[in-house]
Amino acid sequence: MEKTEGGLGKFLDTLTSASNRPLAYYLDICTRCGACTHACHFYEASGERIHAPAYRAELLRRLLRKRKNLIGRFFPWFVEAKDPDDSFLDELERAMWECTGCRRCAVYCPFDIDAAWFISLGRKALLELKRGPEILVELADADIQKGEMVDFLKEMYVERIKEIEERLRKEFSPSLRITVEQEGSRVLYVPLAGEHTIVPAAKLFHAANESWTLSLFTASNYAFFLGDAERAKKMAGNIVKEAKELGVKVVAFPECGHATRTLFKFWDEWFGELPFERVSILQLIDQYMKQGRIRLKKGILKDPVTYHDPCNLGRNSGLYEEPRKVLNIISTDFREMNPNRKRNWCCGGGGGLVAVPELKKVRMKAGKMKVEQIKRVGAKIVVTACENCLLQLRDLNEHYGLGVEIRSLLDLTAQALQVDRDSA
């Protein structure tokens, strides 16, 4: 992370020009009661003030008060309104980037103040000063470029998919089909970069006899982690355009926390009315089960199983029960960690942190609360439904020597599918 390089004006402009209702409330009504401090897994693990959610927000608020608030302008010392200097920015940088945006703090706050809302703004502003993990910026740039070169890459991609299809026809079912951007399909499935998000989905859709096709794009949105609404919208816009051109009825997102959250919570703001339904693959699994289109083998997992609610799928999107229904069928010993669902502890891998090598130490420390939960529940298999959680939990497993298996729900579902192998 680099030092301040000119652009302080741009940094301050970015902060002061942001104007929306949530920010307006959050700027004034925080009473600094500190209820949020014990909500944050970073703070619980480190005890450092920069990890207390209200403190993170306060750093930005102190800058904003100097410019936006009456008392802040005329009596700045009263509300600690200030101008940024290098040491302030050093602290701010850590406070903004050592956060997963899980919003557990908003649950604890008496006013539901969303500190992650500040994180988003702070990251965007800090990047004007080049204060932030370069790799995230590079990943976001690469994704945007890929979006622009999509026709050029299409042939290569289709070839690769054909190979996967061949393999699955031999291993799974001879009539399995994977198409790419097929017009007239009902469902457009947008995977992540990795065949582990395509293979189990293909099996699922085949078993459910679904009319589906694969997107050329991936669901993950690195610009989102940068607080860059413009570029995040541009990346998601590729998928919207594709879906409209193909005339699909449903856009289905994979096991990706932040992408699913943007699908349900941000796309309305970015795109307005859309001519298709938006679902998570978890909801499709649930629908197929309810409609009797798929059947799952009962009790195939003999070891104790638990489920880790990804913050972005759980408290931020509401998908609590769908994975549990599956797990209750396919396992003989399903156990809940405590707390779970809304108050579940974040694994520490969100907010783009899993992709940043220099933040590994921090996120291993931040995962402490999660590790203790896993130890207490005594499960041998920890299931989750978010790619970043998967990676983080696997790292935690190794780092803390937990000796558990980390599995994806979609993968387990595909494994448990009852399929008539002779169907043509």
Binding site: S19, N20, R21, P22, L23, A24, Y25, Y26, D28, I29, C30, T31, R32, C33, G34, A35, C36, T37, H38, A39, Y43, G47, R49, A52, A54, Y55, E58, N69, L70, I71, W77, F78, V79, E80, R103, A106, V107, Y108, C109, P110, F111, D112, I113, D114, W117, F264, K265, F266, D268, E269, G314, R315, N316, S317, G318, Y320, K342
Partner: protein, 243 residues
Amino acid sequence: MSGKGRASALSPLEYLLLYITPYISVTVFVGGIFYKLHGWFSAPRTSIKLTIHPAPQNEVSKVISTLSDLLVFADLMRSNFSLWLGAWSMHLGLFMALIGHIRMFYDYLAALGIPAETAEKISHTGGGIAGILFMTPLFYLFARRWGGIIKELSTPEDYFDLFLLIAIAVTGNHMRFFQHVNLEELQTYFMGLFTFTQAPPPKSGGLLFLLHYALVQLLMVYLPFGRISHLIGGYFSKHLTKR
């Protein structure tokens, strides 16, 4: 304090606090609230949903959910029990005391046909409980700001607020427990303010009344512009996560 029944026998400071500043404080208070609301509502709405799940499904249950959460500080109760205990009892005491204060402007107890002596007892007991309930947690809330992460979070404003509230509570409780402040004198004085005539200040209130009154006016002038605006803004902020 002189106050021998004629307003002109008061010192300039007393005169200022009794007959000039009250109008200013009320105006600044009401105007300030509108200014604050205007500031909040002129910020553009966003259709980005900040939902915290599970969230109620229809509009009515959303409003009820927000209100009931705020009434008992439900989230705080589950998040930090000792803070909840302090904060909720303090606010409860405050609102009980405020309801009692209405009797200075409009005697609802008399309007309900309750005889003066009984009303006096109700005010004394209820007001006494309210006063203790309001004042005691303030010391706890103040003390916790002197160490740990709460100290790092706190700004000078936070200490000022608590100090101001403690001073208001102590002066108010002194009048409640150790002085017999005559309700009629209070009513006469305030009626004078409403009618823009200068009625004499409550003699039985003495210096402590003046102090309490001045502190409350200071609170009114400051409230809309500081963090105590959470009294108004808290509802809107909380409601965002129900959408």
